[in-house]
Subunit: 415 residues, 2 copies
Amino acid sequence: MTTREILLAAKGAKGALASASTAAKNAALLAMAQALLDREAEILAANARDVARFGPELGAVMVDRLTLTSGRIASMAQGIREVATLPDPVGRVLRTVQRPNGMVIEKTSVPMGVIAIIYESRPNVTSDAAALALKAGSACVLRGGKESYESNAAIVAALRAGLAEAGLPGDLICLVEDTTRASSTELMTANGLVDLLIPRGGAGLIRAVVENASVPCIQTGTGICHIYVDAAADLDKALAIVENAKTSRPSVCNAAEVCLVHREAAADFLPLLHRCLALEHDPPVELRLCPEAAAIIPGTPAGPTDFDTEFLDYILAVKVVDSLEDAIAHVAAHSTGHSDAILTEDPAAAAAFTTQVDSAAVYVNVSTRFTDGGEFGLGCEMGISTQKLHARGPMGLEELCSYKYIIRGEGQVRL
Amino acid sequence: MTTREILLAAKGAKGALASASTAAKNAALLAMAQALLDREAEILAANARDVARFGPELGAVMVDRLTLTSGRIASMAQGIREVATLPDPVGRVLRTVQRPNGMVIEKTSVPMGVIAIIYESRPNVTSDAAALALKAGSACVLRGGKESYESNAAIVAALRAGLAEAGLPGDLICLVEDTTRASSTELMTANGLVDLLIPRGGAGLIRAVVENASVPCIQTGTGICHIYVDAAADLDKALAIVENAKTSRPSVCNAAEVCLVHREAAADFLPLLHRCLALEHDPPVELRLCPEAAAIIPGTPAGPTDFDTEFLDYILAVKVVDSLEDAIAHVAAHSTGHSDAILTEDPAAAAAFTTQVDSAAVYVNVSTRFTDGGEFGLGCEMGISTQKLHARGPMGLEELCSYKYIIRGEGQVRL
């Protein structure tokens, strides 16, 4: 099928979910999870074909992301079951207003309709995204990378079998067959067919979507996260937080990339940081230092792009700042608006930072690594929004919904 | 100043509002209102120059929209004062979560930052939009039409004088000097400088913004609103509602353009409709009829575009449908997602219509003319959103805000 035919099929199917009960949606999710387990052999075989075909041209990290195992399929099924346990985000009355003329206005959460997701190599995104969209009452159109096409097709076939078993149309979960750039472009410009487009992937994909999409979209992901060690920081706490934010999982978007240190704390803190990250940590963290930091500890001189790079690696850019205001100004100039932290025991400094730093998550004495739907208590998430329209930070089920106003009366007219 | 310089000035000024108190913002609004009144003579003189220069090429309706009077300036000032009385939308804690590790997450409403508004000839939009943006904590960059440039400049000069008197930077309210298409294009693509773009105007402007904007934007306005007279409608109520929705103010987006009538009601209802709208109403309403309706009452045969046209005039397209399902399908195919109504005494029909019709406002036995921030009890509005992302229906102060997560702890790290 062409991408347009697939979009029309999804649009045709979405009505079946608009009025589906919570029980019906949860039954479908459980059937989808079971179908994944039942078809493990086909899915692993399809995945093996993807790995055999594209593995040689991918690096080891990408091959690892692409490869499915029995355990990973079980995790995907478990992820779907967890979505079934979450509260239904659709049909909630968000606000009720009775007007003086007697009409009653209910602001009510409703599905988006058709959610399109463009993503890269990890096939587990296929089941995660489909499950979240379904629970949020929307059909989904999935456009994965060419490296994982066979895996995605086998996963989608299983999920559609689960839908059929639960009496729902298979076209609620559609996979785009064309994995060239043409299909991405078509999704970005399918006004009237795509109600929400979510790109999940690297900075290049996100930028392409922001620049080219005419359908409503949400910018996700890129995280140049800062940690500012204030003059009034508790240095032991600060060291533990910076180490955690940098090294607990460097490849993810909520990992810290930049450490700003107040001049008054630099002479004490930087040697602790150097010992902890560069000398004692395994693997060692490369410190890229501004000239003032380099006068205090050894490291690599920071180059012109080091304060604007999402390293996603054991690398930390370090800069000494003159004041809280300088730290806030540096964050304003260089942050991607994802997650930024201040470490301080001074409530006034914390208040200034949280008010003035314009990021999705602003932390006081906590590691940036917590920006995550599960850690925030929202349940599963579709991604982390770094834009200010609609959803900001982790996007859970509520953020995948829209709302409408339903107004009931007995013949009211406007005077 | 170039448009880019103006955007940079607004971005530089926005910080002054991020931490401004409610009292400070309200004081500024009252000073702005007073400054408009104090400078009435200059504003009227500037407006007279606009009318003299562009009036000859504009129609009577447009000249009326462009023309300011002492009374209209007083209304603008009063509108600003009303914004001052509304609750502050910024700094509300929307949700608090204490996590098991002790960290506390507050989802908090925050300003957008810089809101750009592209609009057409009515100069009162200048003060309305500036007042709403200010109360919502954002700087605004206003790009009005060339016909009203002198009026807008005089109004903005007054508003900025009010800001200065209240101790706030004038660059919180900026007027774009270039009124060619180049400045609109620049606003649409000023990523990093414009946090939200709102077009207010005709369908051509809205379409240009949707197709070309890479900054976050909200689609407003176009309303092809339907009223469906069900088989179980109370025909007296129905007639009063259709008359109100069509004729009380035909030029606005929440006026009805299409009446769908269930086959079982057609023989009784259509003659009533014809007598009321075509014979007795002054001015008469032209009915554009589907063949089945034309077999019952006199009128103009509907042409191929009549069910997809926002007439904004004393014209109503009328179609007989076979069933509730057909009515819902017609609305799905032809509505702009603004406001659609069912008139029925059957609760099951009402429930099906409100669930399945995917519009910002869905009415049961109420005129579509109520889709309006004031009528909904939201206070003033920036426009009516017809998209599903972020805001839907009337956009009041809350809809002009974003949110962020503020997370406070005592050294929490992620395991």
